[in-house]
């Protein structure tokens, strides 16, 4: 495993281009575009203010930089460096901005979710969509980029509007039987839309592309409900993580529950492999330590290396007692991710934040549990194979594959706390992001060393 040198970064804003050729990163008000293979700076754009959001267009030709504070969006072209575009939302303000799938329209959500403005880069036209709902995930595009679903709120009722992305024509508009719609998500095949209610009620509604209600599912009542959902890449399963520390999996034929995965703090099954991260005991010779300590030595002192060890089965994981009198308690399954080959599902139970559960979807059983020394910040599956990268905010990056798992120290000077990561589309490298630094990590093609 190799690491690139460390680059400066602000706001953890760094994205690979969808075609995998470029890496865009923000440093204050500058946008830097690098070649992924050489890491040479290809373009350098200067925005009007500190960039708060960065997004590549789907064709990798344009980059969107949002400056919410100023209500500004600046778009840069990679092909024509001199081309520029600035969208000012003015007094309406700006809270979110995103590309439409065709890469020629920008959807800006104004403050207070007054409206969504659709700016076209091709024509002068501007469209407005009124009544967007302020919720967890109120806007979603199908994978093929044809349709957009939008959660709306009108007259204290939830609605979903389906738009055709090519000309922003309203295709369907229907109300949903929800108290407070929390999110919507297209299935990868683009034919089923899942909508879920807020955490006060456990309710999932499944709509067809033509607006028919296919099914509703509710596991229980009177308790905090759904936290997050995830579609399997084959659209075959819908995983629902909820506050009761369980993941329920629905099938795509009957939309009934196939199984539920409980996330208990004690694991008794001896068939489950449990990897526990252990600190490597550093045999530092105190006498040899120079005084004053050099920078490297200091960093090595602070960054204790770690390794995974297989722990035999009766294991109790570190739990966090959630504060019950605060909203959004830290309990329940908050992160879900299917592996690209549909074989595994990685989950995190928020009150056992150090552990990542990996479930075998084919057998519908718990397969592996990784317990770390710190709370898991995020994880992402390699887009090419069943390999999971995890970061915990320490200076390690953790990789798991069915063959085993490994903890790798980021060999950066100083403290490189990996706060988030994202894979390159080839699956050969990934970007590790710390608070103000960026580092690329390359995997050898043979596999984990």
């Amino acid at each position: 495993m190799n690491f690139s040198e460390v680059f400066k970064l602000s706001n953890q804003l760094s994205r690979f281009s969808p075609n995998g050729k470029f890496l865009a990163s923000c440093v204050q008000y500058r946008l830097v575009v690098r070649d992924v293979s050489t890491l040479q700076i290809l373009q350098l754009y200067t925005c009007l203010d500190q960039i708060q959001y960065l997004e590549w267009s789907a064709d990798s030709l344009f980059i969107l930089c949002a400056m919410y504070k100023r209500g500004l969006v600046q778009v840069w072209s990679l092909e024509q460096p001199e081309w520029h575009c600035k969208i000012d939302e003015g007094s309406a303000g700006l809270v979110a901005s995103c590309w439409s799938p065709d890469g020629r329209h920008i959807l800006n959500t104004t403050e207070f979710h007054l409206r969504i403005t659709v700016w076209s880069l091709c024509t002068k036209s501007v469209s407005y969509i009124k009544y967007p709902k302020a919720c967890q995930q109120g806007i979603t595009f199908t994978k093929d980029g044809r349709y957009m679903a939008l959660a709306e709120r009108r007259d204290c009722k939830d609605y979903i509007s389906l738009f055709v992305c090519s000309d922003w024509q309203l295709l369907r508009h229907f109300d949903t039987d929800t108290q407070d719609l929390a999110g919507i998500e297209w299935a990868p095949n683009g034919c089923v839309l899942a909508a879920w209610d807020s955490c006060l009620e456990y309710k999932v509604l499944l709509y067809s592309l033509d607006g028919r209600l296919l099914s509703t599912y509710s596991a229980y009542e009177w308790s905090l409900g759904i936290k997050t959902i995830a579609w399997s890449p084959s659209s075959q399963f819908l995983a629902i993580g909820s506050y009761d520390e369980k993941v329920r999996i629905l099938n795509h034929v009957t939309w009934k529950m196939i199984t539920e995965f409980g996330h208990t703090a004690t694991i008794n099954n001896p068939k489950i492999v449990i990897y526990k991260e252990m600190e490597k005991s550093q045999n530092l010779e105190m006498e040899n330590l120079p005084f004053p300590p050099t920078k490297a030595a200091a960093s090595s002192l602070f960054n204790t290396e770690s390794k995974y060890e297989v722990v035999s089965s009766p294991v109790s994981l570190q739990t966090l007692k959630p504060v019950t009198d605060r909203p959004n308690p830290k309990i329940g399954v908050g992160i879900l991710a299917f592996s690209p080959d549909n074989c595994f599902l990685a989950t995190r139970n928020d009150n056992i934040p150090n552990a990542v559960w990996i479930w075998d979807v084919q057998k519908l059983k718990l397969f592996v549990v990784l317990e770390h020394l710190a709370a898991v910040r995020s994880f992402q599956w390699n887009p090419q194979q069943a390999r999971l990268a995890v970061c915990t905010g320490r200076s390690q990056v953790y990789l798991w594959s069915p063959a085993g798992c490994v903890s790798v120290q980021v060999p950066a000077e100083g403290d490189f706390q990996v706060l988030s990561l994202c894979w390159h589309r080839s699956g050969d490298s990934m970007a590790l992001l710390s608070k103000d630094q960026l580092c690329l990590c390359y995997l050898e093609s043979e596999g984990i060393k």
């Binding site: 789907a58 020629r104 055709v164």
Partner: protein, 608 residues
């Protein structure tokens, strides 16, 4: 009670002291008593006694005391101490004998009393202790009673308290329930209130939003703008189309297309899955049939519980199987048939497996008995095999011994010797085989010969029978003629007959008979025994033999004496016999008599 005890105890003790004193005195011999009494005044030690006596009787009041004693004694029923019979003058005189007797009796009585007293005292003691014990028990029980009563009271108290507590708790529970209800109501009301407020707020918010929207929109915010260098082409290179009804319809179409595609894909997947499942089912069915077909007979033999449906099923299945293309039709009837038949077969298989399981368990339960029964046949076979092996082994050992000896005697090579041995064995084997083949051939030949012999014998027997019959017929005729005509006629008839030669043969001794009659004597003898052609012929033989001996005798006689006479006699005898038989059996008689006549005639003829 203790008081009573303390009082009672010392009394007997004091008494017993006195008694002991008395007893000690009484136990003494009368002489010693006497001497003591005598010595009493002189003994200073026995002061108490002395004083006692002195108190009652002194020198002065002897008489009085005597009389008193006498009186007392008489009242008590003792004989008086004084002799009254002698008059009043002698009254003073003590009758010493009576006194002594009295004393003795008194002593005896006293002793008895003492004994009784003792017994009574011991009993009293016992009773006292018993009493004590009982008292103790009583007191203890009383205490127990007291404590238990106290406990009971305590428990009752506690129970009461608990009940009180329970009541309190019930009350509390009720209160809590009420509270909960109240709280729930409150929550519900709050929730409704909240929802209501929320809605109100949201409406307000919406209104504000609307207003803001209007403000923002209507203000024609100069800032709200896009500053763009030049417009870029669409990603697909086309120009944006106008929004018309057409585009709407097109969008709808496309959406449905997408949906249709999805459904088609799904259907394809399902079809694939179905096909595979069908394949699996088919295969399963085939395997089941093949599995069940051979098993079907067995259970039927064993028990009738396997239904006849099996056969029909299988037939059905085979017919179904023949229509392979039926599988492709996914119509419901076929599916039902398939599932039903598979279900049936599965049931059969299951029952069969269960049966097998039962059998297995039975065998396990039955233990060794069944195994023995089963293995008996095998056992014998096994023993045979083992015996064979033993023989082989023995042979081996022998050969080995031989070889060893050979080795010892002649130091020739093992190989050559073994080779030689092998050669020998082989040769021998070959020779044996050859011999065996030869023997077999011989056996076959013998068999063939025997068959031919038997055939010949049968033929002969038949021939003889035919001949016999002929002759019988002929003789009958002859006999009939004979009875009607003269002897001469018959003689002439005999001499002229073709059978004469044969008859002569009979008359001649056995050698010739044998040589002519058949090739082997054994065979004929067998024939005569095993294949009795007819009773007549066999008897005929006998008679012939008889006659032959006779004839021999006759021949001898003919040599010595005049044959004619004897012959005559003989013939006359025969004739008489014949006539007798004739008279007995009537005119047409059995062959026997006829034969006799024949022979007789023949003899006569044969005579020179």
């Amino acid at each position: 009670m203790g008081d009573w005890k303390t009082i009672t105890v010392p009394i007997p003790s004091s008494e017993s002291k006195n008694i002991s004193q008395f007893t000690s005195e009484t136990n003494m011999s009368p002489s010693s008593l006497y001497s003591q009494q005598v010595l009493c005044p002189s003994l200073p030690l026995a002061k108490s006694v002395h004083s006692f006596f002195r108190a009652f009787c002194t020198e002065e009041n002897v008489d009085q005391s005597i009389s008193y004693l006498d009186q007392e004694l008489t009242t008590l029923g003792f004989p008086s101490l004084c002799e009254e019979s002698k008059g009043k003058e002698v009254k003073r005189d003590l009758n010493i004998v009576a006194v002594l007797n009295c004393i003795h009796e008194l002593l005896v009585l006293h002793r008895k009393n003492l004994l009784a007293q003792e017994n009574v005292e011991t009993q009293n003691l016992k009773l006292g202790s018993d009493m004590d014990h009982l008292q103790n028990c009583y007191s203890k029980l009383k205490e127990q009673l007291e404590t238990s009563r106290r406990e009971m009271i305590g428990l009752q108290e506690r129970d009461r308290q608990l009940q009180g507590k329970n009541r309190n708790l019930h009350q509390l529970l009720k209160n809590e329930k009420d509270e909960v209800q109240k709280l729930q109501n409150i929550i519900a009301s709050r929730a409704t209130q909240y929802n209501h407020d929320m809605k109100r707020k949201e409406r307000e918010y919406n209104k504000l939003k609307e207003r803001l929207h209007q403000l923002v929109m209507n203000k024609k915010d100069k800032k709200t703008a896009m500053d763009i260098l030049n417009y870029v082409g669409r990603a697909d290179g086309k120009r944006g189309a106008w929004r018309t009804g057409k585009t709407e319809a097109r969008n709808e179409d496309e959406m449905y297309k997408v949906l249709l595609n999805d459904y088609e894909q799904r259907q394809k997947q399902i079809l694939l899955e179905n096909a595979e499942l069908k394949k699996v089912l088919q295969q399963m069915k085939k395997e089941m049939i093949s599995l069940l077909a051979p098993q079907k007979q067995k259970p039927k033999e064993k028990a009738e519980d396997s239904p006849g449906a099996v056969q029909s099923d299988v037939e059905e299945d085979t017919s179904e199987l023949s229509k392979e293309n039926m599988w492709e039709l996914s119509c419901e009837t076929v599916r039902e048939q398939l599932t039903n038949s598979i279900r049936k077969q599965w049931r059969i298989l299951k029952s069969h497996v269960e049966k097998l399981d039962n059998q297995v368990s039975k065998v396990h339960l039955g233990g060794f008995k069944d195994e023995e029964v089963i293995s008996r046949q095998d056992h014998e076979q096994e023993t045979e095999k083992l015996e064979l092996e033993i023989q082989q082994c023995k042979e081996m050992i022998q050969t080995q011994q031989q070889l060893l000896q050979q080795q010892f005697t002649t130091a020739c090579d093992d190989d050559t010797s073994s080779l030689l041995q092998d050669c020998y064995l082989l040769e021998e084997k070959e020779r044996l085989e050859e011999e065996w083949a030869l023997f077999k051939e011989q056996k076959k030949n013998f068999e063939k010969e025997r068959r031919s012999f038997t055939e010949a014998a049968i033929r002969l027997g038949l021939e003889r029978k035919a001949f016999e019959e002929d002759r019988a017929g002929w003789l009958k005729q002859q006999f009939l003629n004979m009875t009607s005509f003269d002897n001469k006629n018959s003689e002439s008839a005999f001499s002229g007959s073709s059978d004469q030669d044969n008859l002569t043969l009979y008359s001649k001794p056995g050698q010739k008979f044998y040589s002519v009659s058949s090739e082997s004597s054994l065979c004929t003898s067998k024939l005569t025994k095993s294949l009795p052609v007819s009773p007549s012929t066999s008897e005929l033989f006998q008679t012939i033999h008889h006659l032959s001996t006779n004839s021999r005798v006759l021949n001898v006689t003919t040599e010595d004496t005049k044959p004619n006479q004897v012959g005559r006699e003989c013939t006359t005898q025969r004739w008489s016999m014949a006539s007798r038989s004739d008279s007995q059996e009537g005119g047409c008689s059995g062959s026997r008599s006829l034969a006799c006549t024949d022979s007789s005639i023949e003899h006569r003829d044969g005579l020179p």
